[in-house]
Amino acid sequence: MIFEYEFMRRAFLVGILLAVIVPCIGTVIVLKRLSMVGDALSHTSLAGVALGLIFNFNPVLGAVAACTLAAFAMEGIRKKFPQYSEISIAIIMSAGIGLAGILSGFVQNAQSFNSFLFGSIVAISDFELDLVIIISVIVLLSFVFLYRELFYISFDEQLARLAGVPVRTVNFIFTVLTAITVSVAARTVGALIVSSMMVVPVACAMQVAKSYKKTVLCAIGFALVFTVPGLFISYYVGLKPGGTIVLCGVLILVLILIFKNSSVGKRIPRLRQ
């Protein structure tokens, strides 16, 4: 039985926690039209992982530090190119990949480094489990508390500022939340996959939900629907968990799109608020 194993119980706990917090961050990122931010940050996190492995400190802490620095650098570059904010993503992603590539050459244990590329949700240490729980609580509480601010900033940053929203402070907090979420998610589902985890549930939710609130809740629901069966399939079929979870998500998104374009789907209205 799958739950007889401690590592699988941990995997499910971590998977479910991430399935709740990653779409919360993902919803804001997608609506701000910065979907590739997760990709840029997760790639940059690899540079922090490499530093951790080289200098013998916890690679996840290295990933958190690298991600946070990258997120602020991205925010700084975004302000320099207000009309072309995606430039900041490309620059940070290139720098992150370049740095991670160079540093990976100095890592003694290549297997340990590779485990961060595709994640190792079934090899979570006590420390990492505690970290995921603490970060999940922080991210979830912050997201609930800043719900209205994040909604308005996603809708229109300038109008939010005029309505009295402390845009700079909220953006600062959100940048930190994004960085720490991406770091822990990269460790578990993999740096190469975390961006999909951030975007695919939101893309599915946007197809069916009518309101912002419903979009957030549906995105969490979809992420749970991808994660739980994804972990079951990966366990019983012997596949990589991170990749299986993401492919489950992409498959469901494709099915939703096909269904919506079918004659039956066109007759069904979006979910009511």
């Binding site: 609506l31 909604f151 229109d156 309505a163 009295g164 946007m206 912002y212 979009t215 009511r272």
Partner: protein, 225 residues
């Protein structure tokens, strides 16, 4: 009494003069239209009033204070150019969009009370969109979306509306009804309106006075009204 007073305002961008020696007074209850060719600096002038841009020199007094005090933001209702066009795919209901502008009136926990829901309902009724509260904003036509943007600013009970090309991208009938609504808000609720527009003919009919921003960035009263 003036709600807005601009004196000797200059603004340049990349060493190029955009606005020169702008002097403007808008009284409480006024309805002024600013017309001018593309690139004359009309939208820039609104952004200077809002404090989004900083003038090169000169003074802007809003509500009797220098510059735009963030504490006065709730007294200003700003509708940017093409505002409705950006929100087509945004997953939010009309009610959520309008309620968002009550942000400064919500308490520490930002939980809307019954009075806030009533304000949203009233704002939607004012613009004739009360039946669309639960609809997704992107499902509405351009004209309807612009009415929602108007409801969004009205919900905060502003004293002055700053409108940047409010009828751009909407059909003639929707534009006519939006102008009628603005006239009504100005006449019945005494809301001051400063509107930048390309629609010279209708602006002359709707506004109480018209200012012309010429291509040299100089603002003059247009007496052809």
């Amino acid at each position: 009494m003036n709600v807005l007073e601009i004196q000797d305002l200059y603004f340049s961008y990349n060493r190029e003069n955009v606005l020169s020696q702008i002097n403007l007074s808008v009284e409480y209850g006024d309805y002024a239209g600013i017309i001018g060719s593309n690139g004359a600096g009309k939208s820039t002038l609104l952004k200077l009033i809002l404090g989004v841009l900083k003038p090169s020199s000169g003074t802007i007094r809003l509500f009797g204070k220098d510059g735009c005090d963030p504490r006065d933001f709730r007294k200003i209702g700003y509708i940017p150019q093409n505002s409705a066009a950006f929100f087509g795919g945004f997953p939010a209901t009309v009610e959520e969009v309008v309620k968002a502008n009550l942000y400064s009136q919500l308490g520490f926990l930002r939980l809307p009370a019954k009075k806030h829901k009533v304000l949203v309902q009233q704002a939607l009724e004012t613009v004739g969109m009360q039946d669309c509260a639960k609809r997704r904003i992107g499902e509405l036509s351009g004209g309807q979306q612009q009415r929602i943007m108007l409801a969004r600013v009205l919900v905060a009970q502003p004293q002055i509306l700053l409108l940047d090309e409010p009828v751009t991208g909407i059909d003639a009938q929707a534009a006519k009804s939006l102008y009628a609504l603005l006239e009504q808000l100005n006449a019945e609720q005494g809301i001051t309106i400063l509107m930048v527009t390309h629609d010279v003919e209708r602006a002359f009919r709707s506004a109480k006075h018209i200012l012309h921003l010429n291509s040299s960035g100089v603002l003059e009263e247009d007496h052809d009204i």
